[in-house]
């Protein structure tokens, strides 16, 4: 427990976006080797204003505007990470990995291994995702499962204001490539931001966001709010786990909860088919075969590209009603 939690009076309400900004500012402050690279992250303050003020504070050498050349500047960030810098590099929308995957997939994830540890690659790939804003099929994808499937990458998805800052700091301090996934719909969300802990938050620890008895609801990112709302609204008693990172994977916390509840519902914004929820369902199904009261169920987006229409989009994304209903159905089932 942090001392901040013991003195809640001191805890300020901040926006998720400000917490990200603070995390980066602290990282830039505490380590000269940290640089921020991306399109319009500098003078422009970021297309979503996440890097606002960093350019003014740390200068153009530390907060570096790049042309629309993701393959080039993401690759450069990886090369820089091998040679002394600790870049935080922004891919404006996760969907744009389509133009700059190689440096992540084939370079950052593999070169430490291929050189038997001689190369260290401390790079943070910030990417923003988040459907629900009528941004269309090319600006709404959640592809975290892809990165979790690539050995050598850590995959982090902060869902709360405090985690936005603390996982950012943990990611920058980590000596490995970290895919850091921000959800656009969380940017404006508010929550408590205690003063930073002396003990940094380790990557790979899930969090029980809400205790409950009947169904474990496992989620991450933007869907945490949905699941917490479902816990409030629904009839079943839900234990909501914020997984926080897919790699490392904190299966222990999940298993411990499901052992108690006997039921697991996995909720994510990504397409359900071949999504990250499948791995968790498979793992829990295998580990707790005799303890599960009901089948593990998943709730993700159906297998269609994300339509532009807000109505259609809303109809596809899991919402709190659907989560509550699915949980109640599990309880009814066994």
């Amino acid at each position: 427990m942090s001392s901040a939690a013991e003195a809640p009076a001191a805890v300020a309400e901040r926006r998720y976006i400000d917490a990200l900004n603070e995390g980066m500012a602290t990282a830039l402050e505490e380590d000269e080797r940290v640089v921020v690279i991306g399109i319009d992250v500098g003078a422009g303050g970021g297309i979503f204003r996440v890097t606002k003020g960093l350019y003014e504070r740390f200068g153009p050498e530390r907060v570096i505007d790049a042309p629309i050349s993701e393959m080039g500047y993401v690759g450069a960030a990886v090369g820089a990470a091998m040679t002394g810098l600790r870049p935080i590099v922004e891919i404006m929308f996760m969907d744009f990995v389509g133009v700059c995957l190689d440096p992540i997939l084939n370079q950052a994830a593999k070169l430490r291994y291929m050189t038997a540890g001689a190369l260290e690659i401390p790079v943070v790939f910030r990417m923003q995702t988040g459907a629900g804003k009528a941004a269309g099929a090319q600006h709404s994808q959640s592809l975290e499962a892809w990165f979790a499937h690539v050995p050598g990458l850590k995959v982090v998805l902060p869902a709360t204001v405090a985690d936005a800052r603390d996982l950012m700091l943990a990611a920058v301090r980590d000596p490995n490539p970290v895919v850091f996934i921000e959800n656009r719909r969380l940017y404006g969300s508010k929550g408590p931001l205690p003063p930073p802990d002396a003990e940094p938050l380790p990557l790979g620890k899930a969090r029980i966001a809400r205790g409950g008895e009947q169904v474990t609801v496992l989620t991450w990112g933007q869907m945490l709010r949905t699941c917490l709302a479902a816990a409030e609204e629904g009839a079943a008693s839900l234990e909501v786990i914020d997984l926080r990172s897919l790699a490392p994977l904190d299966l222990e916390t999940v298993l411990a909860s499901v052992r108690r509840t006997g039921r697991l519902l996995i909720v994510h914004e990504a397409v359900q088919d071949f999504g990250a929820g499948a791995e968790l369902a498979a793992r829990v199904g295998e580990e707790l075969f005799d303890e599960l009261r009901t089948p593990v169920r998943r709730l993700g987006t159906p297998a269609v590209p994300m339509p532009f229409s807000p109505d259609l989009e809303r109809g596809l994304l899991p919402n709190s009603k659907a989560v509550a209903a699915a949980a109640e159905a599990l309880v009814a089932e066994g």
């Binding site: 319009d40 505007d65 133009v99 099929a137 159906p302 297998a303 269609v304 339509p307 532009f308 259609l312």
Partner: protein
């Protein structure tokens, strides 16, 4: 041009007022490029464009009603509400679509050029893109491919100086896109992108070259984006004088002055034209407002064909 101006002006307002969802990038100030190139093309010619593609679509005859309904995310939209501003398309008119990935229009147009050549369609394939896209690998690869395969591809770069919040002249040592074409052996010419007649002349010539089998040609149209990168961007990064200077060279005024001077149209005729355009757009808006959202089943349709 009048139609594009009317369309974009109203779209900007509707977006501000929350009637249009998602992201919207208008082409206000750049209408002469769309109009000049669009008029130089023939039926069946292919167009692949960008996030800032409304003008190019209208200039190729796409229906105002269908487009507006699409921006309103209606089921009767030209893409049934599944595309939106960044993805309006009408393949029946050769328009392969706006595209939200910077640089993506280029390889797609090269492919369309390949079809045209291979299947002897006699069509020109146009890629619209911004000067910011020129720094993308896709530009480099696509231009080279169009060159070595000698495809009927017309590359139209709208150099509006800015890519999002950045002055593109700071993001390359060679801001003149025409100069970058020598690297591919591709012929290129710059043109005043606020002068529709000049754009049209050059584009017509270039399209003819393409159709004649001379391979690709690149047009760099120098122009200016009046509005922010997206609607809602207050553009603190633009010098006032620069913006004012370009506003003073309004492509519609440039064209009007020329027409009046040449006696090709009277002030009344021009005014009537503008009014007609505004009326068409207004009618499309009225209609779009009354249309229903897509049927929920629409979300599941068209993933695969059979």
């Amino acid at each position: 041009m009048a139609l594009i101006r009317a369309f974009e002006t109203r779209v900007a307002e509707l977006y501000r007022d929350g009637e249009i969802p998602g992201f919207v990038h208008t082409s206000l100030g750049q209408e002469a490029v769309a109009a000049g190139v669009g008029a130089a093309l023939e039926d069946g010619d292919y167009v692949a464009t960008t996030h800032r593609g409304h003008g190019h679509c209208l200039a190729r005859g796409m229906e105002v009603e269908g487009m507006m309904a699409e921006l309103f995310a209606r089921g009767a939209g030209i893409c049934h509400g599944k595309g939106g501003s960044m993805h309006v398309a009408d393949p029946s008119r050769g328009v392969l679509g706006a595209n939200a990935i910077v640089g993506a229009s280029l390889p797609l147009a090269v492919g369309a050029g390949l079809s045209s050549k291979q299947l002897r369609q006699g069509r020109v394939a146009v890629a619209f893109f911004g000067e910011g896209a020129v720094n993308q690998g896709a530009f480099h690869e696509a231009v080279n491919l169009a060159a070595i395969w000698s495809l009927p591809v017309l590359l139209v770069c709208e150099n509006n100086i800015y890519a999002e919040f950045s002055d593109s002249r700071t993001l390359t040592r060679v801001p003149a896109v025409v100069e970058r074409c020598a690297a591919y052996g591709v012929a290129a010419a710059a043109v005043d992108g606020n002068d529709a007649a000049a754009v049209h002349r050059l584009a017509a010539e270039a399209a003819e070259r393409c159709r004649g089998g001379d391979g690709p040609f690149l047009i760099e149209a120098e122009t200016y984006r009046w509005h922010g990168h997206y609607e809602g961007d207050s553009q603190p990064y633009k010098p006032d004088e620069e913006a004012a200077g370009w506003r003073a060279r309004d492509p519609l005024e440039v064209a009007a002055a020329r027409l009046l001077e040449a006696g090709a149209a009277s002030a009344e005729e021009l005014e009537a034209l503008r009014e007609e355009a505004a009326a068409r757009v207004e009618a499309a808006i009225e209609r779009a407002r009354t249309l229903p959202a897509p049927d929920p089943e629409e979300a599941y349709a068209d993933v695969f064909g059979s």
